[in-house]
């Protein structure tokens, strides 16, 4: 009995360390974001700000009185970056999910010539380090005059993300029972109608999950955003924030921007975790049904 309790003690101790390692950095960034600029420099460090403030967030959303326009510029940049990131990630999520659902369905249901080769070509495009092709990539987009437009990043992300989503979805579609679809076809449904009325409702959790993933991937991307949108009016949040690490950096404002930038993806990835377990449940049910 004594050894068992010792094991429990060790478990809880390690659990505490792991939890601290995982969230302390984020908590600290949050503390910074609700502090005034001068307080974060105090020695010893104030772990809880003496005067907690929502000033930094208010500045980003344009709700605070700004003493000078010189400093307010950074808050405006961050706000514009947030808007741009949203305006890019949302259509990317919708379009990429739509295309990947159809492609994943095709890969999961039908066999056709060069299926494996096509699949491999799909995946191999993800192996390259992005930095290696960034310059020629930039040349292509500047030749077709798309640098500094929403379209450039939307096209880039859709093309990059669809293979990943397809890969996830094809395994998922393969687990859906084909009998129901066959029954629908026998009853006179066209292929597309069967897809719309029978398969899509069954596949909804999987499709929602990859939609979330697509949004996160697009929202988080840094290098292509830096090259294709950096310094232009469509600059997304990541390059905006990294551009603020200068000698005039306002660290509390930046930490508020970082917190805002991670909220959607952290929340969505936690939902994604829930969906993954749901996918498993769907798997189990469908296996039993067959």
């Amino acid at each position: 009995l004594k050894r068992l309790s010792k094991r429990k003690v060790i478990t809880y101790f390690v659990a505490l360390v792991v939890a601290a390692w995982s969230i302390a950095p984020i908590l600290w960034t949050f503390v910074m974001s609700i502090s005034y600029e001068r307080e974060i420099f105090s020695v010893p460090t104030h772990w809880i700000p003496e005067q907690p403030t929502s000033y930094n967030y208010a500045r980003i959303f344009g709700l605070a009185y700004e003493a000078t326009t010189v400093v307010s510029g950074q808050a405006v940049q961050i706000r514009q970056g947030l808007v741009n990131s949203l305006l890019i990630a949302t259509p990317v999520a919708v379009v990429a999910t739509l295309l990947a659902s159809l492609a994943g369905y095709a890969f999961g249901r039908y066999t056709f010539r060069f299926k494996n080769a096509t699949l491999f070509a799909f995946l191999s495009t993800r192996m390259l380090p992005p930095i290696t092709i960034i310059i020629p990539y930039y040349f292509v987009f500047s030749q077709i005059r798309l640098v500094g437009t929403y379209q450039s990043l939307i096209i880039t992300y859709v093309a990059a993300i669809v293979p990943v989503l397809t890969w996830i979805l094809l395994g998922f579609f393969a687990t859906l029972p084909i009998e129901i679809e066959r029954a629908a076809r026998v009853d006179g449904c066209s292929r597309l109608r069967a897809l719309r009325t029978v398969i899509l409702p069954m596949a909804a959790p999987g499709i929602a999950a990859v939609g979330i993933l697509a949004f996160c991937l697009s929202w988080n991307e840094f290098l292509f955003a830096l090259i294709l949108s950096g310094g232009t009016s469509v600059e997304t949040l990541p390059p905006v924030i990294s551009g603020l690490f200068t000698h005039a950096a306002q660290y509390t404002l930046m930490s508020a921007a970082v917190i805002l930038s991670i909220i959607p993806t952290v929340v969505l990835s936690l939902i994604f975790q829930k969906y993954i377990t749901q996918l498993r449940i769907v798997d189990a049910v469908s296996v039993r049904a067959e």
């Binding site: 792991v18 096509t118 936690l270």
Partner: protein, 280 residues
């Protein structure tokens, strides 16, 4: 539907790749804005350039640190989450959070933590009385390890979840049998658990290596390749050649060298994976 996407992918990746090949065989004249064909000169220059050659061991050092840290930490997390205790599901959620934080945001957060003027690491160690003065953590000797730590912080949860999934497939009976036979916890781990999950460990190794070799954001945001060239890994070296020195040919040649290294690594891992599988 598949064909247009594939076509778009090939257009967006294949054309730049060919263009990259063209760039790597030419010397870009910045003043006149035209290319001069120089053959393999850029490759020869690259393998003789101390800056390029010096970036290779840094890349390997960085990747090895990331891989070691994320595999060991991931294994520890997975073993922990495989235990039965109160609050396990809460901890599982907490552990996943860094994975939801993008590589870019990770870099910014760790740059805050490691700051030599207001960083919380300095603040913490100072409060505990372990240091007298605030330290410069992103120094010439230490910076690359701190960048690796930040990257591992972001990557480890993924590895932990892979390993956890694998751990949960181990039948309880084997453990009980080993216990009856008198094997201690460490022997049980070494002889029962580890052989069972080695396939998952290998996959995490592969993923971590690939991601580490591709890493760029952490260097751009945390150190900018500095101080000096202390954290100038291959990816960042390519970036510097392109955007600081406009040495496009050299950058293209280095790009192909990096791609070659990654392909060789992928092949090695592929052989290891298939051999392991056959061995089972």
């Amino acid at each position: 539907v598949i064909l247009p996407i594939l076509a778009l992918n090939i257009a967006l990746i294949g054309y730049p790749l060919l263009y990259l090949l063209y760039m790597s065989l030419n010397d870009y004249d910045v003043i006149r804005g035209k290319m001069n064909f120089v053959g393999l000169k850029n490759y020869l220059d690259a393998i003789q350039d101390p800056a390029t050659v010096g970036a290779i061991p840094r890349t390997i050092l960085f990747s090895a640190t990331v891989v070691a840290a994320s595999v060991l930490l991931g294994l520890a997390m997975a073993l922990l989450l495989n235990e039965d205790f109160r609050g396990r599901s809460v901890l599982r959620t907490i552990v996943l959070v860094p994975w939801g934080v993008s590589e870019f945001a990770t870099s910014a957060i760790w740059r805050f933590i490691l700051s030599d003027s207001f960083g919380s690491l300095n603040g913490l160690l100072y409060a505990l009385g372990l240091i007298k003065n605030y330290q410069l953590w992103l120094s010439e000797q230490m910076a690359i390890f701190w960048v690796a730590a930040a990257f591992a912080w972001h990557f480890t949860p993924l590895g932990a979840f892979f390993l956890l999934a694998s751990l949960q497939t181990i039948p309880q009976d084997i453990h009980k049998a080993a216990k009856v036979d008198g094997a201690g916890p460490f022997r049980r781990f070494w002889n029962v658990t580890l052989p069972h999950i080695r396939y998952a460990v290998l996959i995490v190794l592969v993923l971590a290596t690939m991601e580490a070799f591709r890493a760029f954001d952490v260097f751009y945001v945390m150190t900018g390749g500095g101080p000096g060239v202390a954290t100038e890994v291959l990816t960042f070296h390519i970036y510097r050649q392109e955007f600081y020195y406009f040495n496009l040919g050299g950058a293209a040649a280095t790009s192909y060298i990096l791609t070659l290294i990654i392909l060789v690594l992928a092949a090695v891992y592929f052989v290891m994976l298939t051999r392991r599988r056959r061995g089972r």
